[in-house]
């Protein structure tokens, strides 16, 4: 029941309801950058090699730090304001 679950959470004090803001951060668009690795024609080549490993493989592996970085930037840039105010979508 909506009423009692709301009561439960405010009694325990554990969950703070978020205030809704409708604007989400443009920094969130960074999250699309890692998806570029799926445009396979860009990466489907053998050379240049690194240590004998064809371009396709090391370039795909290179997207691992890209992905971590993209998400980390989003976290840092949207930190400082509480989640509930920032309007994370």
């Amino acid at each position: 029941m909506p009423a009692s679950s709301q009561q439960e959470s405010s009694e325990s004090g554990a969950i703070q309801e978020g205030v809704q803001r409708s604007v989400s951060s443009p920094w969130n668009l960074l999250l699309i950058v890692p998806l570029l690795m799926l445009i396979t024609p860009w990466f489907n080549h053998v050379s240049p090699r690194i240590g004998g490993v064809p371009f396709f493989y090391w370039s795909q592996l290179a997207f691992v730090p890209v992905s971590v970085l993209a998400m980390s930037i989003v976290i840092i840039v949207t930190r400082g304001k509480s989640d509930s105010v920032k309007g994370q979508s």
Binding site: I15, G51, S89
Partner: protein
């Protein structure tokens, strides 16, 4: 069993027993009361912090799939197998924002499963039932994959008899798994994930550094692999694979990665893991750190090529009489590394199968006890009764997985997981889209589910196994075979696509059409008990524990 195999097996056994004992002891770790309420058992009291979360979510994600099935695909098909790396990299940016919303709304309203959320959002118990059933069924082939991986390790160690005795090791391993998840719930896998990941890192670093050097360096390995893969297969008359993507499988690569990414957080075990995180900050950090696991994953996949260069031939499974491609990595280790090291490696891989299998079965069991048993069969069930039901259901789910291993025999066992993916993707509209908007009507979602499910299962059925016969042999459809009521829209295209993505598109189209119709006839909308603010809620940041939920939401 040879001498080397005996050494491997003894070390394997010792480590395995150690971990099992650890599992039983886990019941005492950080538990205040008894493990009888469902939340305690299934979500370990909702109190895991950053490091534990990272290990738990990772331990769940990287499994026998990672170490056995994907390298086997690379061994057999080449570059296409690398989709699993792309999946491990893109799944997390994709899931980053939605999973936060799911966490917030679930914590606010006490949701424990995806079906709980759907019921709260739409007020439709039938839709929630469909979501619950999908979650349970889709998890089974995924668990089956873990079992197949464990089985391949046991066979390489010499337990490769034919007939009933041949399947015995599998049943024994499963009983161990069943017993410790039965008593300890989610805490057992968490503790063991630490042990597993430690073992795995040691083994893999040693293998990645030593093996490529041993076989002549990457240049030579790729050259050798390219030669072997481009030989034409006697069955199909075409090369079995290549070290680059072909014209036909580039779209398949991308859709497999996207489809698997979209499916990842729809699985009940992913939702369970996500909900066990302490607050939104921990969640964000955990998700952001997840792709790091893929670096290792990518290097392990490349071992598939090393296996080709090493001249590994898959072991014949004496129980079925067929070659088991899952054995290539264990065989690679067996052939090129000392027996004592192999014992370690196999134990690590075996545990890597055990942990996610346990977590997956707990999560599926949760769906049964809350969203089917309590919702429809026994409305006044107490928390203790629900927990007992969940424990029982967890065993049944494992049994279902066992049946999948035996009954469905795709060319690559990774297809077991991809088949599960086709099924779970049909819950995307009701779960993921619903986190953002309620525009799709419950009737549309239900109709879309039926359409996508029917079409997806039908297409899977039509895919033959490697020898050209049978059903459920794979998960990739050539576009030329796409057939809408007899209209062949893609001509003779040999470009392949993941069935899951196509089935999802069918689902969405039908959902939209029926939604429009439902609105026109003013169909009842159902009650949405969530509020806009619920999707952004966060737990207190200064360490106050969230109140454990003793009650399931009123059904």
């Amino acid at each position: 069993m040879t001498g080397a195999q005996a050494i491997e097996f003894s070390i394997f056994l010792v480590l395995f027993l150690f971990v099992t004992v650890l599992g039983f002891c886990a019941a005492r770790w950080r538990v205040k009361g008894k493990l009888h309420t469902l939340d305690e058992w299934a979500l370990a009291g909702r109190g895991f912090g950053s490091w534990v979360s990272w290990f738990l979510v990772g331990g769940d994600l990287y499994s026998a799939y990672t170490f056995i099935a994907v390298p086997a695909l690379v061994f057999g098909a080449g570059a296409l197998g690398f989709y699993a790396l792309a999946y491990g990299v893109v799944a997390f940016p994709i899931a980053f924002l939605p999973v936060l919303r799911l966490w917030s709304v679930s914590r606010t309203h006490g949701y424990v499963t995806p079906a709980d959320f759907v019921r709260g959002r739409y007020g439709s118990s039938f839709l929630a039932l469909l979501i619950a059933v999908t979650g349970i069924v889709a998890t089974m082939p995924y668990i089956a994959l873990q079992l197949a991986g464990l089985e391949s390790v046991l066979r390489v160690m010499g337990l490769n008899d034919s007939g009933i005795l041949g399947d015995l090791p599998l049943f024994v391993a499963f009983i161990i798994l069943a017993i410790f998840t039965y008593t300890s719930g989610l805490r057992a896998p968490a503790l063991i994930a630490f042990v597993k990941d430690l073992l795995i890192y040691i083994v893999i670093l040693a293998a990645i550094v030593y093996l490529p050097l041993h076989f002549g360096g990457w240049g030579s390995i790729f050259g050798h692999a390219s030669t072997v893969l481009s030989k034409k297969s006697p069955v199909t008359g075409k090369p079995s694979g290549s070290i680059l993507l072909t014209h036909g499988n580039q779209l398949q690569y991308a859709t497999l990665a996207l489809g698997s990414s979209a499916a990842l957080f729809l699985y009940p075990h992913s939702v369970t893991a996500a909900l066990s995180v302490k607050n939104r900050t921990v969640m964000k950090r955990t998700v952001a750190a997840m792709p790091a696991y893929s670096l290792l994953l990518g290097l392990i996949m490349l071992l598939g090529y090393v296996a080709i260069a090493a001249g590994v031939k898959p072991l014949i499974n004496h129980a079925t009489g067929k070659a088991d491609t899952n054995t290539v990595i264990p065989l690679l280790f067996s052939h090129s590394l000392p027996a004592w090291f192999d014992g370690f490696a196999f134990a690590a891989i075996g545990i890597a199968a055990l942990v996610p299998a346990a977590i997956m079965s707990i999560a599926a069991a949760n769906l049964w006890s809350r969203n089917i048993y309590k919702a429809y069969l026994h409305r006044s069930a107490s928390p203790e009764q629900q927990t007992r039901q969940a424990k029982f259901a967890s065993l049944v789910v494992k049994l279902g997985a066992l049946i999948f291993v035996v009954a469905i025999d795709p060319l690559f066992s990774i297809d077991l997981q991809l088949i599960g993916g086709v099924l779970i993707l049909q819950t995307l509209p009701a779960v993921a889209i619903a986190l953002y908007t309620r525009w799709l009507h419950a009737w549309g979602l239900i109709a879309g589910w039926f359409a996508g499910m029917a079409w997806g299962v039908y297409e899977l059925y039509t895919l033959p196994a490697a020898n050209g016969s049978g059903h459920f042999g794979g998960s990739a459809l050539a576009l030329k075979a796409v057939d809408l009521f007899g209209w062949h829209s893609f001509g003779g295209s040999t470009v392949q696509i993941y069935v899951g993505v196509l089935a999802l598109i069918v689902n969405l189209v039908v959902a939209v059409v029926i939604t429009v119709i439902a609105r026109l006839v003013h169909a009842p909308e159902g009650v949405d008990e969530t509020r806009a603010g619920s999707y952004h809620a966060d737990a207190e940041k200064d360490g106050v524990k969230s109140a454990p939920l003793a009650q399931a939401p009123a059904q």
